[in-house]
C-alpha cells in the first residue's frame, strides 16, 4: 500500500501521474470524437456509444446542444489541466528531473504525494460533475462570466475541481524549484543542467506565480454562485426576460483578466517541457551537442518573464481600448522572439548530424514543423486588426491545437518512447511505434489543417451543427466530414500505442545496458529500473550535458560523470 498507492518515491508518483494523465487524455479525446461526429453528421445518432449517453444528453443517440456544450467545456478542461500538464510536468518532471540532477528523490517527498492525490481528487470532482443535474460545466473551458455564474451545478463542481488542481500544482511547483536549486549533484552547475531541467524550472515558476490569480478568480466566482455576490455580474442583467436579483456593479472583464493571467503562462507550461524533451532526444539522436544551448536557456528564462505580460491579447474583442491593445500586441510580438530562437536552435542542431531515426526521434523531429505551424499561425492572432476577423473562429482552434496536439503531445509521446527503457527495463516495439507515428502524423494534420480554411472563411468555433445554418460557411462545410474522418482514424492509430505500451511492459525486448541510447545525462547512470534512492553512490559531474562526438575520444558520447583525464 505504502509502496505503490501512497508512495512517496518520486518515480512511483511520476508513474501514477503518467498513467492517470494518459487515461484522462484518452477520455478527453473520446469527448472530442463524439463532438466531431456531431459536427460532421449533425442530427444523426452517434454509433456504438450513442445509446449509453442517457436521455438527458442524447435522446435516441442524437446529441443535444446542451450536451455538446458540456463536451466542449470538459474537453478543454480535461486536456489542459488533467491531461497534458500532469503528463508533462507531473509525470516527466517527477520521474526525470531528480534523476537528471543526480538527486535521491524530490526535496519534499510527502508534499509530492499530496500533490498527486490532490490532482486525483480534482480529476474525480471534474468527472463526477457529468452526473449532477444539468450535467458538467458547459460554459467553455474559460468559464467566462456572467454565463458561467448562472450556469448549472456542474460549474460549481468545475470550480472546486480547479481549486484541487491548483493546490496540486502549487505543491508540485514549490517542490520542483527547491529540488532543482538544492539537490543538484556535486559539480552540476546551472549551465551544466540538461535543457529539460531548465524547461521544468521555468515551468514551475510559471505554475507557482500564475495559478494563484485563477484561484482568486475561482473563489470570487464561487462567491458569486453560492453567496449571491456580484463580482462578475454587471448591473441590469436580464435572463430569459427576467431581471436578475443581484446587487450588480461587478465586471465580467475582471474574470477574463484573472483567467488569462493564468491561462497565457499556462500555454508555456504546456510547451516548455515539450521543448525540453525534444531537446534531449535531438541531442541524443543526432549525436551532436545542442546548437546554442546557452541562448536556449536564456530564451527560456526570458520567455518565462514575458509570458506574464501578454495575457490580454486574448481579449482584443472586449473593447479595452487601443492603447492597451497596442501594449499587448507589442509584448506578444516580443515573446515570439525567444520561441523562435529555441525552435531555430533545435532545427540547427539537426544540421550535419548522423541522425538515428528511432521512434522517439521521429516524434521529436515532427514536433519542429508542427510547433512551427502552430507558432506562426499565432502571429495574426496576436495583432488586433487581424484578430478581430479571426477571433472565435476555427482558425484559433487550429492554431492552438497545432501547438498543443501535434506539438506538445508528439513531444510527450517521444518522451514516453525515449524513457520507457529506463522505467521498465524494456524497449517499446519499434514497428508498432512507427505505425503509430506515421498514422498519427498524417491524420492529425488532416484534422487541424482544414480548420485554418474554415476559420479564414469565418466559421465560428462554437456552432453545435458545424455551421449548417450559416450561408457563409456553405463553401467550406464539406471539410467537416474530412476532419471528422481524420479524427476517427487518429483514434484508430492510438490503439497501436496502447497495445505497444502494455505489450512492451511485459514482453518488450530487454535492454542489455543501463544506457541503451548511449546518452550523456545522469538519468542513465542509475540501475534499470532505478531503485528507491536512485543512485548506488553519490556522483560527481565533470562536464556539460551534451558532449557527443567530441573529437579525439574513443566513443561518441561522454557521460556527465566521466572525469577529465589529466
Amino acid at each position: 500500500m505504502r509502496k505503490y498507492v501512497f508512495s512517496q518515491d518520486h518515480k512511483v508518483i511520476g508513474i501514477q501521474y503518467g498513467i492517470t494523465a494518459l487515461c484522462f487524455l484518452l477520455f478527453g479525446f473520446t469527448l472530442m470524437i463524439m463532438m466531431r461526429w456531431q459536427l460532421a453528421y449533425p442530427g444523426q445518432p452517434i454509433p456504438l456509444i450513442g445509446q449509453w449517453l442517457g436521455d438527458a444528453n442524447a435522446p435516441g443517440g442524437i446529441m443535444l446542444p446542451e450536451f455538446y456544450n458540456q463536451l466542449g467545456a470538459m474537453h478543454g478542461t480535461i486536456m489542459v489541466f488533467l491531461g497534458v500538464v500532469p503528463l508533462a510536468v507531473g509525470a516527466f518532471g517527477n520521474y526525470i528531473v531528480p534523476l537528471q540532477i543526480g538527486a535521491p528523490d524530490m526535496a519534499f517527498p510527502k508534499l509530492n504525494m499530496m500533490s498527486y492525490w490532490s490532482y486525483f481528487l480534482g480529476g474525480v470532482t471534474m468527472l463526477s460533475s457529468f452526473f449532477v443535474p444539468g450535467g458538467a460545466a458547459n460554459s467553455g473551458w474559460t468559464s467566462y462570466a456572467p454565463l458561467a455564474t448562472i450556469a448549472t451545478t456542474g460549474q460549481t463542481f468545475w470550480l472546486f475541481g480547479m481549486i484541487f488542481l491548483i493546490t496540486s500544482s502549487l505543491l508540485g511547483s514549490v517542490n520542483f524549484i527547491v529540488t532543482i536549486v538544492q539537490l543538484r549533484a556535486k559539480g552540476l552547475t546551472f549551465m551544466r543542467l540538461p535543457f529539460f531541467v531548465w524547461a521544468q524550472l521555468v515551468t514551475s515558476f510559471l505554475l507557482l506565480l500564475a495559478f494563484p490569480p485563477l484561484e482568486a478568480a475561482g473563489v470570487l466566482q464561487l462567491m458569486d454562485r453560492l453567496a449571491g455576490t456580484s463580482f462578475f455580474l454587471p448591473s441590469g442583467l436580464v435572463i430569459a426576460g427576467q431581471p436578475l436579483h443581484v446587487s450588480g456593479g461587478g465586471s465580467p472583464i475582471l474574470w477574463q483578466h484573472l483567467f488569462w493571467f493564468l491561462a497565457h503562462p499556462e500555454v508555456y507550461v504546456l510547451i516548455l517541457p515539450a521543448m525540453g524533451i525534444v531537446a534531449e532526444i535531438i541531442a541524443n539522436n543526432t549525436r551532436k551537442p545542442l546548437w546554442g544551448y546557452k541562448s536556449m536557456v536564456y530564451s527560456t528564462i526570458f520567455l518565462g518573464f514575458m509570458s506574464f505580460i501578454v495575457w490580454a491579447h486574448h481579449m482584443f474583442m472586449t473593447g479595452m481600448g487601443t492603447v492597451i491593445s497596442a501594449f499587448f500586441q507589442t509584448t506578444t510580438m516580443i515573446i515570439s522572439i525567444p520561441s523562435v530562437i529555441i525552435l531555430t536552435a533545435l532545427l540547427l542542431s539537426l544540421y550535419g548530424g548522423s541522425i538515428r531515426f528511432t521512434t522517439p526521434m521521429l516524434f521529436a523531429t515532427a514536433f519542429l514543423p508542427m510547433f512551427g505551424i502552430g507558432g506562426l499561425t499565432g502571429l495574426p492572432l496576436g495583432l488586433a486588426p487581424s484578430d478581430i476577423h479571426l477571433h472565435d473562429t476555427y482558425y484559433v482552434i487550429g492554431h492552438f491545437h497545432y501547438v498543443v496536439a501535434p506539438g506538445t503531445l508528439f513531444a510527450l509521446f517521444a518522451g514516453i518512447y525515449y524513457w520507457f527503457p529506463k522505467v521498465t527495463g524494456r524497449r517499446m516495439n519499434d514497428v508498432l511505434g512507427k505505425i503509430h507515428f506515421y498514422g498519427s502524423f498524417v491524420f492529425i494534420n488532416g484534422i487541424f489543417m482544414p480548420m485554418f480554411i474554415e476559420g479564414l472563411a469565418g466559421v465560428s468555433r462554437r456552432l453545435y451543427d458545424g455551421g449548417q445554418q450559416y450561408a457563409h460557411a456553405q463553401g467550406v462545410l464539406h471539410w467537416n466530414v474530412f476532419m471528422s474522418i481524420s479524427a476517427f482514424c487518429l483514434f484508430f492509430f492510438q490503439l497501436f500505442f496502447i497495445i505497444n505500451f502494455f505489450w512492451s511492459m511485459k514482453k518488450g525486448k530487454k535492454v542489455t545496458s543501463d544506457n541503451p541510447w548511449d546518452a550523456t545525462t545522469l538519468e542513465w547512470d542509475t540501475p534499470t529500473p532505478p531503485p528507491h534512492g536512485n543512485f548506488i553512490k553519490p556522483l560527481e559531474v565533470f562536464r556539460g550535458p551534451y558532449e557527443y562526438s567530441v573529437p579525439g575520444k574513443s566513443k561518441d558520447f561522454l557521460p556527465q560523470t566521466e572525469p577529465e583525464k589529466v
Binding site: 538527486a103 535521491p104 528523490d105 524530490m106 526535496a107 519534499f108 517527498p109 502549487l170 511547483s173 514549490v174 517542490n175 524549484i177 527547491v178 536549486v181 538544492q182 539537490l183 507557482l208 506565480l209 500564475a210 495559478f211 494563484p212 490569480p213 484561484e215 482568486a216 478568480a217 473563489v219 470570487l220 462567491m223 453567496a227 449571491g228 455576490t229 456580484s230 463580482f231 443581484v246 446587487s247 456593479g249 461587478g250 465586471s251 475582471l254 483578466h257 484573472l258 493571467f261 534512492g533 536512485n534 543512485f535 553519490p538
Partner: protein
C-alpha cells in the same frame, strides 16, 4: 541515499530546503492576495458609488485586532528565539501565547461578522461587502491554518525537539515566516477595507 539539506544549509545557495520552499510558497500567496487586491481596485474604480470603510466598519475593533496580530508576530519570533537559546519551556509559553492571540483575533472578527449580519449586511448586499467578506474570510482561513500548524508544533509535533532539535528549530522558523505573512496581509487589509 537520503534527501540532503533538510537540516544543514547547502553551501552555494546558503539555504536549507524548507526555507526556500516556504519563500516560494509565500510568493505564490502574494500572487493570490495580489490578484484579490487588484480585483478590489478594478471593482472600486469601475463602481458608481463606493462607501468609505469607516462608514460601515468598526475601526476601534479593527485597530485592536491589528495590535493583537502584531503582538502575536512578536511572540512568534520570541518562540523561535527561545529555541535558539535552547529554552524549551519558554518556547512553549511564547508559542502558546501566539496561538491564544490568534484565537482572540478570530473571536473579535466573529463579533464583527455577527454585527454585520444583525444589520442585514451580507456579501450579497453590495460589491463593497462582497469584497470585504471575501478578503477577510480568506485571511481568516489563513489564520485558522496558522493556528493548526502552530498548535501541532506546540503539542504533538514538539516531540522532535528531543530527537532532532536543529530541524525542529527550522520548522518553527518556517511556521514563523508563514505567520508573519498572515500578519502582513492583515496590515494591508485593515487600511484598505476599514480606512479608505
Amino acid at each position: 541515499m537520503q534527501v540532503p539539506y533538510t537540516v544543514n544549509t547547502r553551501s552555494d545557495t546558503g539555504l536549507y530546503n524548507a526555507k526556500l520552499g516556504i519563500w516560494l510558497f509565500l510568493s505564490s500567496e502574494v500572487m493570490l492576495f495580489g490578484a484579490l487586491f487588484s480585483s478590489y481596485i478594478l471593482l472600486r474604480v469601475g463602481a458608481d458609488t463606493w462607501p468609505h470603510g469607516y462608514e460601515h466598519l468598526n475601526i476601534p475593533l479593527g485597530t485592536v485586532n491589528t495590535a493583537v496580530l502584531i503582538t502575536s508576530s512578536v511572540t512568534m519570533v520570541m518562540a523561535w528565539a527561545s529555541l535558539m537559546m535552547k529554552d524549551f519551556a519558554k518556547y512553549r509559553r511564547y508559542l502558546g501565547t501566539t496561538i491564544l492571540l490568534a484565537l482572540v483575533f478570530l473571536v473579535i472578527k466573529g463579533f464583527e461578522y455577527a454585527a454585520k449580519f444583525e444589520h442585514g449586511l451580507y456579501p450579497s448586499t453590495s460589491t463593497y461587502f462582497a469584497i470585504y467578506f471575501t478578503l477577510t474570510g480568506l485571511h481568516g482561513l489563513h489564520v485558522i491554518g496558522g493556528i493548526i500548524v502552530n498548535a501541532y508544533f506546540w503539542g504533538p509535533g514538539s516531540k522532535m525537539w528531543k530527537t532532532d532539535p536543529d530541524r525542529f528549530t527550522h520548522r518553527i522558523e518556517i511556521a514563523g515566516l508563514y505567520w508573519h505573512f498572515v500578519d502582513i496581509v492583515w496590515i494591508f487589509l485593515f487600511p484598505t477595507l476599514y480606512l479608505l
